[in-house]
């Protein structure tokens, strides 16, 4: 069948497409190629990879959202679907908006039951084209992907030369592959141009390029650790945190090798499990190194005991939890924000931790670096809660910057001279207004020795079982944690004239919630916006809660964990707090937020 020009009006730089593939067929690179091309045309775009916890043969999707105003959060329906997976084609076609498009491989006839009156089908004989032009079986499979990418270039009006450049960069050193890719791309473009009237009503048009970059949160966080001066890293592989350590390793190989000696100014240990990973970090931090680990839910649970040790023995430790869908193994390749409560109070006994909540890769870089300052200043574990969406998907964010005047905040660390001058060194007694005690590093001098322990201890670190001595120390720990509030990153707040409702959210929900607020504004409904970025909460968080009659806490978990934390750790009256919960494992989109606000307004 030939293309029927869709009745829909032209929509420039404002559409969403979904690419449905089978994992392990090499579609990933083709998909990101399209997304990157759009990015290079200066158009705000996002690419979300919905991949299975499997290596080959299961369904995988890639969603591209293009939006001139920067609202590139996830949507739930698509203007165009590239349907390359027979297992899911029915669902995939069903998700196309009315008057939308379906691109499929017409080498094989499409099951008639899959036809919809209200969408346009763009059949392209991808398999046939590739079989005609490529000999190696491997190429025939891989190049199908590049071919549909080529077709999209034509259909969406993407500038072909942008792709030429991309391919040339990508395969700079691989002539043969480069040629193959160019050919496949051309095949798709030509076929589309010859067969359909291109571009479709949904199309891309160059915008003035901004100073932004395309980066995923794990890469950014790893870079933050490098810049903060982390020297020891220990980890145990787990999706979706693995790529963070991979990136840290790459950056260290590039930036941390002594030019003269060729020796490494870092040490990364792939531990035997997460207990060891955090143990290594705690040992290194006790010894004075900036050390961190990255993990996800199951690893976090295994780290509970040692987190309590670090809290009580007052040892800095940085832990990055890239959250995924729980409980238990859950859905390892789906996103969620469901470790908030466990992170806040991890371990038995009375414990409280410092948390950071980056909302995008830019903040992953910034907060990762900041974690080390906070951990060392307050001599306690700091947990940065990222998630799969923020950590593994490519985001368009402002260029990262670094202030070369930065000096690491090591907190109160006494050196040999200070110890000399000091009358006596009390490891665990309040030394500053923020209830922090002075620490020393092993090897400093005979005067600096103390005994770190997770057992009851006096202000000198001596073992005790006397209530008063024990309480002195644990009371200070509570005060210390409270004092950290002043040092947390401020929440992002956008007040709106006459808004009775305030939307409070966290992390990667950012874009979708902003979009919701924008859409609500279009229909004359106002809502304030706050995204918390650290725990303990500071004054501004309290202020925002107080300013609004009703609060809706938007988060990606079943049990309203952020709402829980706000209920417990601010003075807010919980009856004021409502929830918008999205926890199916996909990144948040604006619709449910809009609906919830309207419902509340209605009531």
């Amino acid at each position: 069948m030939t293309a029927v020009a869709a009745p829909a009006a032209t929509r420039v730089n404002d559409f969403a497409i979904k690419l449905a593939n089978v994992n392990g067929t090499g579609s990933a690179s083709a998909n990101s190629l399209v997304m990157e091309a759009i990015f290079r045309m200066g158009v705000p775009v996002s690419g979300k990879n919905l991949f299975p916890s499997n290596i080959q043969g299961l369904p995988t999707w890639y969603e591209i959202r293009v939006n001139h105003s920067g609202f590139v959060g996830r949507v739930q329906r698509y203007d165009l679907a590239v349907a390359m997976n027979a297992q899911t084609i029915e669902r995939d076609i069903a998700e196309v908006t009315s008057a939308g498009f379906v691109l499929y491989d017409s080498t094989f006839p499409l099951d008639s039951r899959l036809f919809r009156e209200d969408v346009t089908y763009l059949g392209i004989p991808l398999a046939r084209l590739c079989n005609e032009h490529f000999d190696r079986a491997r190429d025939r499979i891989l190049m199908k992907n590049i071919a549909y990418a080529g077709a999209l270039v034509a259909l969406l009006g993407i500038e072909p030369q942008v792709l030429d450049v991309l391919l040339d960069d990508k395969f700079a050193r691989k002539l043969q592959l480069r040629q193959a890719n160019h050919l496949a791309l051309q095949l798709g473009m030509d076929y589309a141009r010859d067969t359909f009237d291109c571009p479709l009503p949904i199309q891309v048009r160059r915008m003035p390029s901004s100073e932004s970059i395309l980066i995923d949160g794990n890469t950014a966080a790893a870079l933050g650790c490098v810049y903060a001066g982390a020297t020891v890293a220990a980890w145990y592989p787990i999706t979706p945190s693995t790529s963070l350590m991979d990136a840290f390793t790459r950056f260290c190989e590039r930036f941390r090798r002594d030019p003269e000696t060729g020796r490494n100014n870092y040490l990364i240990i792939q531990a035997e499990d997460e207990l060891a990973a955090l143990g290594i970090v705690v040992g290194a931090a006790w010894n004075g190194a900036r050390a961190f680990t990255a993990t996800s839910g199951p690893g976090l649970s295994l780290m509970n005991e040692i987190l309590g040790l670090a809290y009580y023995a007052e040892i800095p430790a940085v832990l990055i939890d890239v959250q995924r869908t729980g409980p238990s193994t859950g859905m390892p390749t789906r996103t969620q924000q469901s470790d908030i409560l466990e992170c806040a109070y991890a371990s038995h006994g009375d414990t409280k931790h410092i948390l950071l909540f980056p909302g995008n890769p830019f903040e992953c870089f910034e907060f990762a670096a900041r974690s080390f300052d906070l951990a060392e200043r307050f001599q306690t574990p700091v947990i940065m809660l990222s998630d799969l969406d923020v950590g593994m998907n490519d985001w368009v964010v402002p260029k990262l910057t670094w202030n070369d005047a930065y000096i690491p905040d090591r907190g109160i660390v006494l050196d040999a001279d200070m110890l000399e001058r000091l009358q006596a060194f009390h490891r665990y007694s309040k030394l500053d207004a923020e209830f922090v005690a002075a620490r020393t590093l092993p090897g400093v001098s005979p005067l600096g020795a103390y005994f770190a322990r997770g057992s009851g201890h006096t202000e000198d670190g001596v073992y005790t079982e006397f209530p008063d001595e024990y309480q002195k120390v644990v009371d200070r720990l509570a005060q210390k944690h409270a004092a950290a509030a002043r040092h947390m990153p401020e929440p992002v707040i956008e007040r709106r004239e006459g808004a009775r409702i305030g939307l409070v959210t966290v992390g990667g929900c950012d874009l979708a919630v902003r979009e919701a607020i924008h859409n609500l504004d279009q229909i004359g409904v106002q809502a304030g916006y706050m995204r918390v970025r650290g725990f303990p909460f500071g004054r501004s968080v309290q202020a925002f809660l107080d300013e609004h009659e009703r609060i809706l806490v938007v988060e990606q978990n079943r049990d309203a964990q952020l709402r829980t934390l706000l209920t417990l750790e601010t003075a807010v009256n919980k009856s004021k707090l409502g929830s918008v919960l999205a926890y199916g494992g996909y990144p948040l989109s604006a619709e449910p937020v809009v609906d919830a606000v309207l419902q509340l307004e209605g009531s």
Binding site: N264, A276, G283, Y450
Partner: protein, 351 residues
């Protein structure tokens, strides 16, 4: 228990080592263990070994897990930093410490429960990484601090005071070490200071991970008739495979080394470790024969002590990972932070 006699003798007339320190400077807090506990004898041996090694006490880092044995890190080298961590994870924590600062002497003290039950995975993997760490297991076959349950090193058929019988074969850390390629494996007995001290010195000088399994009777829960971890049993069944006789280079007293059947191993720092093999053909560098010998003696009901296996060729963690000579904790921030320009350059490819 050295720390207990502390108040009595005036410092002055005590002998001093080559850095001018007396044994006092290598002692720690007063022991709170049971009178007669084997662990305290090991503490005493550690004090003397460290003193003889002329190490600066504050350049030692002491780490332990949880247990009576793990408490002993508080009883020596009082001017060294100590870390009494959590049960079973000391090997990992010490690995991290060693990673951060390669200049300190790391001494880990653990128990059989701490190391062979809950901590077995961590111990094996620390050995596998050949972290430079002297790891002493104060092995009494029971969980002392929790009042005497069987540990994984309890003897098959051993009987506890209240009549319970152990049903499972003991795990021998030396055997496990041999199986997974550990590079220094020794066994001794808390009651035999004369043998223990040179072994501890050798372990301290070893290039990588040095496991010292010291049988250390628990006089309260496991020193009764029939316990192979009792003083009586050890005195009867101990067989010395090798006597370690350690001589740091700076004081060559080769005179004291007898000729014949002597096996020498040069430690990574150039000092030499001499083994006087009890069975003349015993070669502590040949894994296969070591395995065979130990297995045979074991079946003969004997406990072989001494430095049982050494491989000074195997590189340690820092050598394997090619980390810089300067301890990582001593690197200035400038050496670690690539700076804004590099960031600028890096991001070009992402724009």
């Amino acid at each position: 228990m050295p720390s207990i006699t502390k108040p009595l003798v005036p410092l002055l007339d005590l002998p001093r080592n080559s850095i001018g320190l007396t044994q006092r400077e290598y002692e720690g807090a007063m022991s709170t263990l049971c009178a007669g506990c084997g662990h305290d004898s090991i503490t005493a041996a550690l004090v003397q070994a460290l003193w003889e090694l002329d190490v600066q006490p504050h350049m030692i880092a002491k780490l332990s897990g949880i247990g009576c044995s793990s408490k002993t890190t508080a009883y020596f080298a009082g001017t060294a930093h100590g870390f009494n961590s959590v049960h079973g994870r000391m090997a990992a924590i010490a690995t991290g410490a060693a990673a951060a600062n390669r200049d300190l002497l790391y001494i880990g003290v653990s128990g059989d429960g701490d190391s062979l039950s809950i901590g077995l995975g961590q111990l094996i993997h620390a050995m596998r990484r050949n972290v430079r760490l002297m790891y002493v297991i104060e092995n009494n076959g029971v969980y002392g601090l929790t009042k005497g349950q069987f540990s994984a090193s309890a003897d098959l058929g051993a009987v506890l005071k209240h009549g319970q019988k152990n049903l499972y074969a003991p795990i021998d850390p030396v055997g496990v070490g041999l199986a997974i390629g550990a590079t220094f494996l020794a066994r001794s007995f808390s009651g035999d200071k004369q043998q223990l001290i040179p072994i501890l010195k050798a372990a301290a000088m070893h290039r990588g991970f040095a496991l010292v399994d010291v049988l250390s009777p628990c006089v309260t829960f496991n020193d009764h008739e029939g316990s192979t971890k009792s003083y009586r049993y050890m005195r009867q069944h101990e067989v010395q495979a090798t006597e370690a006789d350690f001589i740091p280079f700076r004081t060559e007293v080769t005179a004291s080394i007898p000729s014949g059947g002597v096996q020498s191993v040069t430690m990574h720092d150039g000092s030499v470790l001499h083994f006087r093999a009890a069975p003349p053909d015993y070669d502590p560098t040949d894994r296969v024969s070591v395995m065979r010998y130990l297995q045979e003696r074991h079946e003969a009901g004997e406990v072989v002590t001494g430095v049982l296996y050494v491989d000074e060729e195997a590189p340690s963690l820092h050598e394997l990972t090619n980390t810089t000579e300067t301890p990582l904790v001593k690197l200035p921030h400038e050496a670690l932070c690539p700076g804004s320009e590099a960031l600028e350059r890096l991001q070009r490819s992402w724009m």
